[in-house]
Symmetry: C2
Subunit: 233 residues, 2 copies
DNA sequence: CGCTCAATTGAGCAACTTCAAAATTAGTGG
DNA sequence: CCACTAATTTTGAAGTTGCTCAATTGAGCG
């Protein structure tokens, strides 16, 4: 993980995407003076479950997976974080060890902001605190919905869902494939199933002409049908 | 749902359990003047998924389940809320419709606090906002862990887990049974499985002498073994 | 061009679901 | 307190879905 100082928070557009947008110019300057830009290559670990974090990571570029590994050695991906997301926020707020690991899914760039600066703002600036709170509340709703999906939907439904999610959030590349390619294993780990089950489901979608593939890339050819799958059986 | 005014927040011990503990005497007085005490009987609905809430419910007595129903008609219980929990906090913070339904699992008593009063404190009082934030962050960690459990653990493991959870959080009655009795269906809905699967697993636990039952009441007779089940297979 | 890792396919097995019926328990009013 | 009804729990059996292990094919990279 390389790191160097560069760019000013005051001029950074990314902060519009998160709670940092509520800070004043002076507050941003303070942060800007202490922050460090870090580049992380695909596959590298940003932090690991159980680590103590002394700051948070504001994602400027690239995508990261937040996952937790269970006793049986399997990984469960709990969240996919992109531009604007702040990694490690939860553990800084509660002053706990991290509950999840963060790994880069492609080359990333982010700003490391020391904990101390955030804490100052959380303690004094209630607009900032509220913005963080709202974000956390949204994450919680999202997580609750994932719980319901995991419990009640079939693997078929959940895979259809994540395909639609990926296309919606990352769009298409020049050839019409989903711009974000996850390995089949990662998809399986989001959906909470075995790699093979995931692959088989994708094959079956292909046979039904709902998707087409090119290497690991996936193109959705019948979104309507996929949507129907997500809802009913 | 009956409701009447009674008791003063300033003297209420329950508030020590949640973010309200950060408020000053004056702030509490204001809340106390507007709050309403509500009694809810077992089985009654406190609010339903998709409702707009104009306040939150602070649980003083009793237990409630927070659940979401999916298209196939099944319910998923996402959380069990007891004394001190504030229901509806999330949707008030984000000003969204409720994402979950709340139903009383036994006779309850709670205080209804109008939204407006909370908002005032969230906007001006950063100690309060932070307390709410920390609570939300803890809920989020809990939810993330539930996701991992749902995805990676077997029904057997999850049932063992909830039995231990219930005993730990509610203790025992005079005869040594878990003081909180959930219907088998509710247990199944927490664990995300079919009622029958849940019942069969409990029978199998009984045969293995890990638990014994009396009607719907359950007694844990070998917690060590249950703990082992939760961890490995 | 060969090496390595990821993707795919096959087959057998275990876990879970569903529908249906029987047994038990809890709740209600007399 | 008892009897009766409604609700819940329990058991059975068949059918699906998903998991695991092992072998094969394919793709990307130096």
């Amino acid at each position: 993980m390389e790191h160097h100082q560069e760019g000013r928070c005051e001029n950074c557009i990314i902060r519009q995407l998160n709670a940092l947008k509520t800070l004043s110019k002076e507050e941003l300057k303070k942060i800007s003076d202490s922050k460090v830009t870090k580049a992380v290559k695909k596959g590298e670990t940003i932090f690991e479950e159980g680590e103590r974090l002394n700051g948070v990571f504001c994602v400027r570029k690239g995508v990261s997976k937040l996952s937790k590994s269970s006793e049986n050695g399997k990984d469960q991906i709990v969240k996919i974080a992109t531009k604007g997301e702040v990694l490690g926020q939860r553990s800084v707020v509660t002053e706990e060890l991290t509950n999840l690991s963060a790994v880069a899914l492609n080359d990333m760039e982010m700003c490391y902001i020391p904990k101390r600066l955030l804490e100052e703002n959380i303690n004094d600036n209630s607009a900032f605190t509220k913005a963080v709170l709202v974000k956390m509340a949204e994450d919680l709703r999202f997580a609750d919905n994932v719980i319901v999906n995991m419990a009640q939907k079939t693997v078929r439904q959940r895979i259809a869902e994540i395909l639609l999610y990926l296309e919606k959030n990352f769009g298409l590349d020049s050839e019409g494939y989903i711009a974000m390619t996850l390995s089949r294993e990662d998809i399986a780990n989001v959906v909470g199933t075995a790699k093979e089950a995931c692959i088989r489901m994708l094959s079956s979608f292909k046979k039904e002409e709902l998707i087409s593939t090119q290497g690991k890339r996936i193109q959705l050819t019948n979104k309507k049908a996929l949507n129907t799958i997500v809802k009913g059986l």
